[in-house]
Symmetry: C2
Subunit: 498 residues, 2 copies
């Protein structure tokens, strides 16, 4: 019996990625050297991944990378980096991260750009460990950008035609005929945005508007804002910093969740693209409507007592943070009223634009769902009509429409099944978890948002969940980040055998 998938091709490519992990690991390594904190937790995996990666790379590959091999590679890459990412946490051995289940949760939360943390005391960990958390998220954001442009577009039920549509609308193919060139442009943009944010935050410090903001903070937060990830070395997240910093962080989260192809065109001076993109207008509209709704609720609640500027700032910050799936907190929004919290909870299901570092279902899919369903309603009363679904002027083919319906629905079903597991597992382990806490924690991990409500609120920790629940959430982050399909196909027998 022969396998249908040539796993050596997939594992060989994972080896190539492993071989280069010493580069991101060298950042916390250098900081540890500078700070005089332990360097072994970083040095050991640097050597290990180089040796193992170089070894795996030599696997004989008999076949080209096809759909099966690509699915396997994507699933394995995120899993492998998550495993490697635990090594510094385990070797440092400080705080809650010394526990293997916690270490894997934190590492997966890093590489999947989720930002859910099991840290309880942030000061127990060295700056190097915090920088490793941020670095994991930065390479996680970069990885998803590459995946979105180069690979996911060819795979995944909803993703395939989705990205095709995306590229049609935005002429990626005209822009650069070769995928690797496109990827290269997006890398540069990603690096540029990160550097710009470090500069802005440092400038605020220099002009006295950000007294708490060290260079270390500037780098760590730039890494996790542009990648819409949300880890912070500070236990109070962005609530640590001045209003000026909070205002400055908002556009970077929003840009991180904007299509990088669109950003590229705008940088070229082609501002019409913004106006012509149905998805961009939808994404901006979602941010506007949710911010207005949250602000209105906060004004009505009148508790906690916030000034007008504070109400607007925190409404906009939290809506942008949640809808872009960054997950930073500018205030402990877990203390807000049920209405304000519920709005943020619903925001978790949306996500930013396709072709960015954002997670969750994404604005593009919701837009297609809305347009297609309006079309379906029209056809229901005019059976003879033929009316295609159009996105930014281009026709979306019917198979794509079906696949986007399917992907969106399956995401919601996965979410529901996840909540059932979490609430039952917590009950079994006699950890008090309410229905809404379970639902928000599952949404926050599966849609890679980060903070939830109650037990795992924005200034709290996922640590109190039972280990089995945390392990399940680790899997949810993995499945959610690579858009479900690459994992689910691995579970179908026909993937492996004829």
């Amino acid at each position: 019996m022969t396998l249908r998938v040539d796993w050596r091709v997939s594992v060989g490519l994972v080896g190539t990625i492993l071989k280069w992990l010493w580069v991101p690991l060298s950042l916390p390594f250098a900081l540890a050297l500078y700070d005089g904190t332990p360097i072994v937790p970083f040095l050991l995996p640097m050597i290990g991944t180089l040796l193992v990666g170089a070894g795996l790379e030599r696997l004989p590959d008999t076949r080209d990378l096809q759909a099966r091999e690509a699915f396997l590679m994507v699933a394995l890459t995120w899993l492998t980096i998550a495993l490697v990412g635990t090594v510094p946490f385990l070797l440092a051995g400080s705080g809650t991260l010394a526990d293997p289940v916690n270490a894997l949760f934190e590492s997966m939360s890093g590489i999947t750009t989720t930002g859910a943390t099991v840290i309880v005391d942030f000061d127990e960990h060295s700056r190097a460990i915090h920088l490793w958390r941020s670095t994991l998220q930065w390479i996680g954001g970069l990885g998803i950008l590459v995946l979105a442009t180069a690979l996911l577009s060819q795979l995944s039920v909803g993703g395939a035609q989705l990205m095709e549509t995306e590229s049609q609308t935005q002429d990626v193919n005209k822009l650069t005929p070769r995928i690797s060139e496109t990827a290269g442009l997006l890398w540069k943009l990603y690096i540029g945005l990160t550097v710009l944010m470090i500069a802005v935050l440092s400038l605020l410090r220099v002009i006295g508007l950000a007294p708490e903001m060290t260079l270390f903070d500037a780098v760590a937060h730039a890494f996790t804002a542009v990648s819409t990830s949300g880890f912070s070395p500070r236990g109070n997240s962005i609530a640590t910093f001045s209003p000026a910093v909070q205002w400055a962080v908002i556009p970077f989260m929003a840009l991180g969740a904007t299509s990088f192809v669109l950003l590229y065109f705008v940088l070229q001076g082609d501002f019409d693209r913004l106006r012509e993109s149905d998805e961009f207008r939808f994404y901006a509209g979602i941010l506007g409507v949710f911010t207005a709704a949250v602000a209105a609720v906060l004004f009505t609640d009148a508790s906690p007592a916030l000034t007008v500027e504070e109400t607007i700032r925190h409404s906009l910050f939290q809506v942008v943070s949640i809808v872009t799936t960054t997950g930073y907190a500018s205030i402990d929004f877990d203390l807000w009223s049920p209405a304000a919290k519920h709005l943020l909870f619903v925001g978790m299901f949306i996500g930013g634009m396709a072709g960015s570092t954002t997670c969750s279902i994404k604005a593009l899919r919701w837009l297609v769902v809305i347009k297609a369903f309006r079309r379906d309603l029209f056809v229901a009363t005019t059976p003879s009509a033929i009316r295609p679904v159009r996105l930014s002027g281009n026709v979306v083919d019917e198979e794509t429409v079906r696949d986007i319906y399917a992907y969106t629905l399956v995401s919601l079903v996965f979410f529901i099944l996840g909540t059932v597991f979490v609430v039952i597992d917590a009950s079994r382990a006699q950890v008090a978890v309410t229905e809404f806490e379970a639902m928000s924690a599952v949404a926050a991990t599966f849609f890679n948002v980060g903070p939830a409500f109650g037990i795992a609120g924005p200034l709290a920790s996922y640590e109190p969940f039972p280990p089995s629940t945390k392990f399940a959430m680790t899997l949810l982050m993995w499945v959610g980040r690579i858009e479900i399909i690459p994992v689910l196909v691995l579970l179908t027998p026909s993937f492996w055998r004829s």
Copy 2:
């Protein structure tokens, strides 16, 4: 400018239905006469509907009933009966039902077979009023059976081809070539099941196993069990009665949510149909898995202290009650642990079999979603493969698959939007409603289940919600019961104008 829809055809048909409303109204009228309680609340609408109905029926209809006219008729029928249904409540003027918003909520909850109540003190209302509540539900169940077989099959995005599939699989067309004959058979089955249940409950009383069960109770509960509706004249619902009654009620709820076409064949002795129906096995499997899960959770919780028989009885009763969308309570399940409650909450999204009186999304749609998505996963790794989705051996066409994906997704989106409204509206009116209370109340009304958790728990009342929230839930019950599409198409401009 001429309208595209010939509203006179629709309104004329609503008139015909109105004309016959004196028949169900005569039941509580007769009971009021017998009990010596006010008869005017029933006599007046009997005369009024007869006159208005006969008048509307005379509207000149220039066109045949086509899709547009049928959508309008369905939407208007449920709305009109809900309005008529308020008259006895308002004229009786007792208790919370004297309030117009409450009366409309209760009446809509009746005709849509929801079973959510705004009654606070059940003893304030006459037996005739309680019988009117049950009668509304019984005709609501009958109406949906007729709609499912005769009309909904031709309309609604998901429903159209869904029922086509249904009829293909189950040879309705072979059975009786003419729709009205099929409808006639199902009526008789519905009436037969109701009479059987009255007989069983009365027998239990006679042999001493149901001391609380009067003939009135037997009739009122038979009306609301077979129609999977759930109103009870008793404030404690089925928890009022003995374990024997609770066991006896379970199969009638389950039968009410079983395809009546399938039941017809089984009555003909064709038991193979059960085994051959993918949908029936799925429906039975859902009931089994959920019951086992709830029982396991209750055993683990060990509080409240229940015997083994009680644990099994209440688990089975509540799972059947919620999944069939009946909504009876055999115990105050709102006191159960979050895990047990969450399982029931998720059960609200499923529903029984198509072609029955059940509400919610329905087992058939979920089964098609699962089968189609498994197919999609297979095709994702084997792009050259062509593999149709099969249901009970028959191919489901791809347009149907897309429409079922769409309908299921839109149901969930409607649910989410409903929760946003309810939680914000309650906040505005300063009524304390948690996120989970809002979500469960919206699911219970939109999916026509009835009781929710917390504020509107199984032995509680929807009365405390603000009037605006209750009005919104009234609309949700209406939209949910007639499967969304007939209402949404009315909101599209193209429905009315070219």
